[in-house]
């Protein structure tokens, strides 16, 4: 089922006219002319769509938590900061079909009663910002944005804000700080943004992909959306697939498709590159636990694993992982897990905002220890030290970046401990260029 990407390859779809011809903005007409904001929220609730930014919180529920005090403005902020390693779906959507996001923003803002909404775009993507700005101009010229939209009396202004250039600015409260013009430090919660968000006013922060689903939901009904997918993982999800596969790219899947099919069918990733074996998978962006190939394809109970929130997390952290933001990275037997873990650790050290001591100091410490191990200077107790540091960070920080830094390290050691040990025991062999530890039993 193609909900977001149905028209993505249509030539000229980035322009208002082509998008409109393909049925664009009919959902805006429908909500503004025929629906109350409450009805829109209700429809989104029915759809069961969950936040696509990583945490997977039901979007309709988030909307209904929004505080509505008299005389205080409410804001909708679209999180387009997409900086999670392995994730590039929002970029793909905004660049190719910007009006889908703009239409979603209008519908969502109307539902929430926001008259000024923001799209906070990763600062490095300046050209995407220009695309969005152009789309906004076109929508405004057609009367879908600005004052008195379609003669309804509803006003909406959309602002595109270039991001602060840090991964942490994707964390919703850091994003709000940054949007206010301050340093992008996450806030202590509570209060949550739904009560005190942007400029201390009630605010909803949603991911690009989450917001982009709303036009389909409005056109086809929440129930139709909920009929796609499996269980509480309703609808479709964009997966950014990369790594050692035949067909890297962005795929829209029905949630619940089996992991085997997603990885191996020609419709999606097309399998691990020829002549190689599947070693490990990071299923949802660098922050989620890494799992060995066999645990990606089958759960610990031997059931087929599915691409859904529930199935991927089956088995908890011992044997499972998470769907996260859908940043799907595949490793074949030529990939060194230690090197990869070190690489991720470098990222988190670099991106920690530095507010809370466990994350600020712990991410740096883990990176340095991993660096030593990778370069043949580790000792056996370093492995347990890493596990211990990751445990001391996890759960003790202001924002989830601390957890996100801890999980990849802890899971890599959990599943690939012998590879770390090999680096320590055989430093000369392990530091040869391209050297990789081979243990055939983990390859699929």
């Amino acid at each position: 089922m193609k909900i977001l990407t149905e028209h993505i390859n249509t030539p000229g779809i980035e322009t208002f006219d082509v998008y409109r011809k393909k049925g664009g903005y009919t959902a805006v007409e429908k909500v503004i002319k025929k629906m109350t904001p409450e009805e829109v929220v209700e429809e989104v609730k029915k759809s069961g769509v969950r936040g696509r930014g990583g945490a997977g919180f039901p979007m309709g529920m988030k909307w209904s938590f929004l505080a509505k005090p008299e005389g205080v403005p409410r804001y909708l902020v679209c999180n387009a900061d997409e900086s999670e390693p392995g994730t590039f779906k929002d970029h793909y959507l905004m660049k190719n079909i910007p009006h889908l996001l703009i239409e979603g923003m209008i519908i969502s803002s109307y539902a929430l009663g926001a008259n000024k909404s923001f799209i906070y775009v990763r600062g490095e993507l300046m050209y995407v910002i220009h695309i969005l700005e152009k789309a906004i101009e076109e929508a405004k010229a057609a009367g879908f944005l600005g004052k008195n939209i379609l003669g309804s009396g509803y006003d909406l202004e959309l602002v595109v804000q270039p991001g602060g250039g840090a991964y942490i600015c994707g964390e919703e409260t850091a994003l709000l700080e940054s949007l206010e013009g301050k340093r992008g430090n996450p806030r202590n919660k509570p209060p949550f943004p739904a009560v005190k968000g942007l400029y201390q006013c009630p605010t909803v922060v949603n991911n690009v992909e989450s917001i982009a689903t709303t036009s389909w939901i409005i056109n086809n009904g929440g129930e139709a959306y909920a009929a796609i997918g499996i269980g509480k993982s309703t609808g479709t999800k964009l997966i950014s697939a990369s790594g050692h596969i035949n067909k890297p790219g962005v795929y829209e899947i029905n949630l619940g498709v089996s992991c085997d099919e997603f990885l191996n069918s020609d419709e999606y990733c097309g399998g691990v590159r020829k002549g190689h074996y599947l070693k490990a998978v990071v299923a949802g962006g660098s922050s989620v636990p890494i799992v060995p190939g066999h645990l990606f394809l089958k759960t610990a109970n031997g059931e087929d694993r599915l691409m859904s929130y529930e199935s991927l997390s089956d088995g908890g952290f011992a044997t499972g992982t998470m769907l996260g933001s859908g940043g799907f990275i595949v490793f074949d037997e030529t990939a060194c897990i230690v090197r990869n873990t070190w690489n991720f650790a470098r990222f988190y050290e670099h991106e920690s905002c530095g507010q809370c001591s466990p994350c600020r100091e712990g991410t740096g410490w883990m990176q340095k220890v991993l660096n030593r191990i990778e370069h043949g200077k580790g000792s056996m107790h370093d492995i347990d030290l890493l596990v211990d540091i990751s445990k001391k960070i996890e759960g003790n920080t202001i924002c989830p970046l601390g957890d996100a830094a801890a999980w990849p390290v802890a899971s890599a050691i959990r599943h690939f401990r012998d590879e770390f040990e090999w680096h320590i025991k055989e430093p000369i062999a392990a530091t040869k260029p391209g050297a990789v530890y081979m243990k055939e039993s983990v390859l699929v």
């Binding site: 920690s352 530095g354 809370c356 001591s357 600020r360 003790n396 920080t397």
Partner: protein
């Protein structure tokens, strides 16, 4: 009739019950009970709005959220920013998970700390020293290089030692809230975030000196006092003056007859309630500038009280013997070693050592 008596919430912290008004944080409630249950705080500073939540030193376990909803909170919470609920039960020193988490916060704060206490002006009144002594372990697992920073000159009064900073943000809030023109803040992120002025400006403001008092460590110190003293050699005295800029209520630090430093007064939690101006702090260093109120009360536990009592009242421990004894006893291997102090003293090594430097060990 309206009930005007404020409604109070009951909280239990480490088994001790206390009643506090709604909106109080767990940390404040614990402080109300007393220092025995008050969690340590490295970043929270009551007079500074918005402070707290960063260092994670004050983490506690909430084992029951409230009387209405007695479920425990899933994670440890920062007690300095978490408001109490009626019927909340909090575990602090009694919970091994909390004790362990604090140990790790100490460890995290120390891995990149230079540990240059012997030459640091803050030593003896440093919250990091207290925190690590009370909550940390005596050893380190850190084998990497410690982070360092380029030296930065921030003006004639304040010395910035970025390597010692624990990034508590207190100085930033102070500058934001009590000076009228903030020129310093945090630059960069992660473990290379640093306190700095933009760009290389001097901090020049009537109240800027207060950042020295709020800094829990020796990252911001008084240039006019630098390397002049060890705090336990000086005697604090409460004094005041008629100041047109501030309350004029200060502490004078005497060494002999000389005022070597002026600071604001701190309460028992190490917090300044009345900030003072730079004129009082840096310019008024004559006894004649002040009306003396009397000696500051210093806790006997504080190192500042050292040497303030007549010699024969204080029994000095025999450090050399104590150390030797503890070291010998703590060696955990099966090599033969001497158990009794008398045996140690009879050993050839010991005698040789004594002969070499009698004075060092203080034996007559």
């Amino acid at each position: 009739m309206e009930n005007t008596a404020p409604q109070l919430f009951k909280v239990t912290i480490d088994g001790v019950e206390v009643e506090v008004p709604p909106g109080t944080t767990i940390l404040q409630a614990a402080r109300k009970i007393g220092p025995e249950v008050a969690p340590p705080a490295m970043c929270y500073y009551e007079p500074l709005k918005g402070s707290g939540g960063k260092c994670r030193a004050c983490l506690v376990k909430v084992s029951a959220g409230s009387a209405k909803d007695p479920r425990p909170m899933p994670k440890l919470v920062a007690s300095c920013i978490t408001p109490i609920q009626d019927g909340m039960v909090v575990e602090n020193y009694t919970n091994p998970q909390v004790v362990d988490a604090r140990k790790s916060v100490v460890e995290f704060l120390l891995i990149n700390h230079p540990l240059d206490c012997p030459i640091c002006d803050q030593a003896g009144e440093c919250h990091l020293q207290d925190f690590s002594y009370e909550h940390g372990v005596g050893t380190t697992r850190y084998e990497e290089d410690r982070r360092t920073f380029e030296k930065e000159d921030i003006g004639p009064y304040i010395q910035l030692h970025m390597t010692r900073c624990v990034l508590c943000y207190r100085c930033v809030y102070t500058a934001d809230q009590i000076t009228n023109k903030r020129v310093h803040g945090v630059m960069g992120r992660g473990d290379h975030a640093e306190i700095s002025t933009y760009i290389g400006q001097a901090i020049d403001n009537d109240f800027s000196g207060n950042v020295i008092d709020v800094c829990p460590v020796g990252a911001l110190t008084d240039k006019t006092y630098r390397f002049k003293n060890r705090v336990w050699f000086s005697k604090p005295v409460d004094a005041h003056c008629d100041c047109e800029k501030c309350s004029g209520k200060v502490q004078l630090w005497y060494r002999g007859d000389e005022v070597i430093r002026v600071t604001a007064r701190k309460n028992e939690w190490g917090e300044v309630k009345e900030f003072i101006c730079n004129t009082c702090r840096f310019e008024r260093k004559q006894t004649s500038d002040w009306t003396i109120e009397g000696p500051t009360k210093v806790s006997r536990a504080s190192v500042i009280s050292a040497n303030k009592y007549s010699k024969n009242l204080v029994k000095k421990p025999d450090f050399a013997l104590k150390l030797a004894e503890s070291q010998y006893k703590n060696i955990d291997d099966d090599r033969p070693y001497l158990h009794e102090m008398s045996e140690i003293q009879q050993s050839e090594d010991y005698k040789a050592l004594m002969a070499k430097d009698e004075k060092y060990f203080g034996h007559k």
